[in-house]
């Protein structure tokens, strides 16, 4: 009898793992296919799709697609652009949004509640609904550069950075976190005569590690992965083009799928690696967007 229950329990467990693994396959197969295909000549890549060979590193394996992809498009430039835009935006965003949140939570000034509400109300405006008016707006904006005053922000880095620095979600994340910090800390520092800037720098921010990680991860993913519509309409020149728009290069003349897969792997695998190393932080950051205040 005991043996029978043991068996059926084992069976139930096996079924559970089988279900988990089948679902896992659904999520994994396109990604495995992408990476494996990037090492194969296009003809083999196409013929392999008819069997499980599509997911295995078999046949004529080489890095040729990668070399060809680099010859076809200025990939180094695109990667630099995306990384540069991402890093500058994320750093500036963390600084300005945490500063604003700090002010809203601790500094209790007239109108702070109203201003915070206005800011949070912008969460319901999808970027897609303001892209077109923003396009007109940035095409006329002035800028003081090395050559003096000029008009128009199209085809620059700044048009891909400055509008993206401040966003309500990042402010909201910092506000939620700051609210839970013990207020006595701040009051004690005030009593001792610390300036607001010192409190921000030396008391609050050193305690804000988790929310900084959360905000940085979310913003980086947005800037590196999701920047497509905006650069598509504001950047025509190659010099400032980010990776996702750079993909167009592979579809101009003849489409060589092996090269496409190489480019896709090249821009995706580093993010996946980051995710695998920092997965706890990644998942915690997504989960925290769901916490209602």
């Amino acid at each position: 009898m005991a043996v029978v229950t043991g068996d059926s329990r084992g069976l139930r467990l096996a079924v559970r793992y089988l279900v988990l693994a089948l679902v896992g396959t659904i999520f994994l197969f396109p990604l495995i296919f992408m990476v494996m295909s990037s090492f194969k000549p296009t003809a083999q890549l196409l013929s392999d799709t008819s069997s499980l060979r599509a997911f295995l590193p078999v046949g004529d394996i080489s890095l040729d697609n990668y070399f060809a992809a680099f010859r076809r498009a200025p990939i180094g430039l695109f990667v630099f652009n995306s990384v540069f835009i991402t890093v500058v935006t994320v750093v500036a965003s963390l600084f300005l949004c945490s500063l604003a949140a700090f002010s809203f939570v601790y500094m209790n000034w007239k109108g702070s509640g109203l201003l915070l509400s206005i800011m949070l109300a912008t969460l319901i405006i999808p970027f897609e609904t303001i892209a077109i008016p923003l396009l007109l707006f940035v095409s006329r904006l002035p800028w003081i550069g090395l050559d003096g005053l000029e008009f128009g922000w199209l085809n620059t880095y700044r048009v891909q950075i400055i509008p993206w620095i401040a966003d309500a979600l990042t402010v909201f994340l910092f506000v939620q976190y700051f609210k839970d910090l013990p207020r006595e800390l701040i009051e004690a520092a005030r009593v001792e005569g610390a300036t607001w800037w010192q409190i921000y720098r030396r008391v609050v921010m050193p305690l804000a590690g988790p929310v900084i990680a959360t905000a940085a991860i979310l913003k980086s993913l947005k800037m590196y992965n999701e920047q497509y519509l905006w650069p598509l309409i504001v950047v025509q020149d190659e010099a400032h083009r980010p990776i996702m728009v750079g993909l167009g290069y592979f579809f101009q003349l003849n489409v060589v799928w092996g090269e496409v897969m190489a480019y896709l792997s090249l821009i995706t695998v580093p993010v996946l690696a980051f995710y695998l190393i920092l997965q706890r932080a990644f998942i915690a950051s997504i989960a925290s967007t769901g916490v209602k205040g």
């Binding site: 599509a54 500063l99 000034w109 303001i130 401040a166």
Partner: protein
């Protein structure tokens, strides 16, 4: 809660100002700008001054009409039929181009239906826009509930106490960190009609009985294929949010349910689901907003085709505002899109409100 000690007006402003002005300048201002522009004939670059045109842009997009067509008869009054035996009707073009019907001028046929011998033809001044509204709504109506439900199923699956469960959580979440642009391109290949991975897999599973389908090249399957792929990419995101909700439910509630002898379904229905209420509202609203904004998938995979079957509102807004440099037209579509998002979010809020 707020302490007297911490009142500081000028410093407070100074700290909040940089962040707030950026939001005001690049989100709030263009948002109101959109409403203003939609009442003008603004173009991206134009030698002519911008003029106020009232609601003309809205009329050009939204005007609809229904034309009733009597079948053609010969002199004796008998119905005319074509070679296939179908009734013959006057051509819609003759009405929309005729001076006798100024209200239909410039309109094109959207769809028609028959009642008896009479044909009713719905004409629209912008058929492509109408299709994009219908497609976008279909996208939202399908993707929001299906994605939320799948995400919940995955969260329940992952919430089991099993060895190695974190490995599966890691895998299910993986597509979320891959760009939607990359995913769209990858799936364009998977969905392809000839050497497509999906057709080949289905062929292998049915031992060759499967007839290959050109998933993205067929008006019946293109939008559905894009929906399926979008869900595949984003479902892990909402799985994690559900999971966070699941973990806020107190374990003692489950113990009580167990002692009371509740079945698995009863436990879910009376313990788990009530505990997930707020999470559910949030997830539904977030997915709805994301679904309304669908753009990259369309741009990369189909470009709105075949035969406009995957046109969406954002795609149309970009095609006009950027492609045709018709800023006011694009802004008008943006305003309509925003009003749709807002009203649907409000309806969802109302339907999911706490009943007391």
């Amino acid at each position: 809660m707020a302490s007297r000690l911490t009142t500081s007006n000028r410093a407070g402003w100074t700290f909040a100002l940089p962040g707030f002005s950026l939001i005001a300048l690049f989100i709030i201002l263009p948002f109101f700008f959109a409403f203003g522009l939609s009442l003008t004939n603004q173009r991206l670059v134009s030698p002519n001054p911008t003029q106020y045109v009232g609601l003309d842009n809205y009329r050009e997009l939204l005007d609809l009409g229904v034309i009733t067509l009597e079948p053609e008869r010969d002199e004796a009054g008998a119905l005319l039929r074509d070679d296939d035996g179908n009734l013959e009707y006057p051509r819609v073009r003759e009405i929309t181009r005729s001076d006798d019907y100024p209200q239909y001028s410039g309109m094109r046929e959207w769809f028609r239906w028959h009642s008896g011998d009479i044909a009713k033809v719905v004409v629209a001044s912008d058929v492509v826009f109408m299709k994009s509204v219908v497609n976008t709504l279909a996208f939202v109506v399908v993707v929001a509930p299906v994605q939320a439900a799948f995400a919940l199923l995955l969260a329940l699956l992952i919430n089991q106490r099993l060895r190695g469960i974190n490995l599966f959580r890691t895998i299910y979440f993986m597509p979320v960190v891959v760009s939607i642009v990359v995913v769209s391109l990858l799936w364009r290949f998977i969905y392809s009609g000839n050497d497509g991975l999906l057709n080949n897999l289905l062929g292998a599973m049915t031992f060759g009985a499967w007839q290959p389908i050109d998933w993205l090249g067929n008006t019946d399957t293109a939008l559905g294929s894009i929906m399926a792929m979008s869900i595949w990419q984003a479902v892990g995101f909402h799985m994690v949010i559900w999971l966070a909700g699941l973990q806020t439910i107190s374990p003692t509630l489950y113990e009580v349910a167990k002692i009371e002898g509740a079945s698995k379904w009863q436990t879910f229905r009376y313990v788990t689901w009530p505990g997930l209420r707020n999470t559910a509202v949030l997830i539904l609203i977030v997915i709805t907003m994301q679904a309304f904004a669908v753009f990259a998938q369309i741009d990369v995979m189909t470009g709105g085709g075949p035969l406009d079957s995957t046109q969406t509102l954002v795609f149309q807004a970009v095609e006009r505002g950027y492609g045709k440099q018709d800023i006011s037209g694009g802004a008008t579509i943006s305003v309509i899109l925003f009003l749709l998002v807002l009203s649907i979010s409000l309806v969802q809020r109302y339907l999911t409100r706490e009943r007391r």
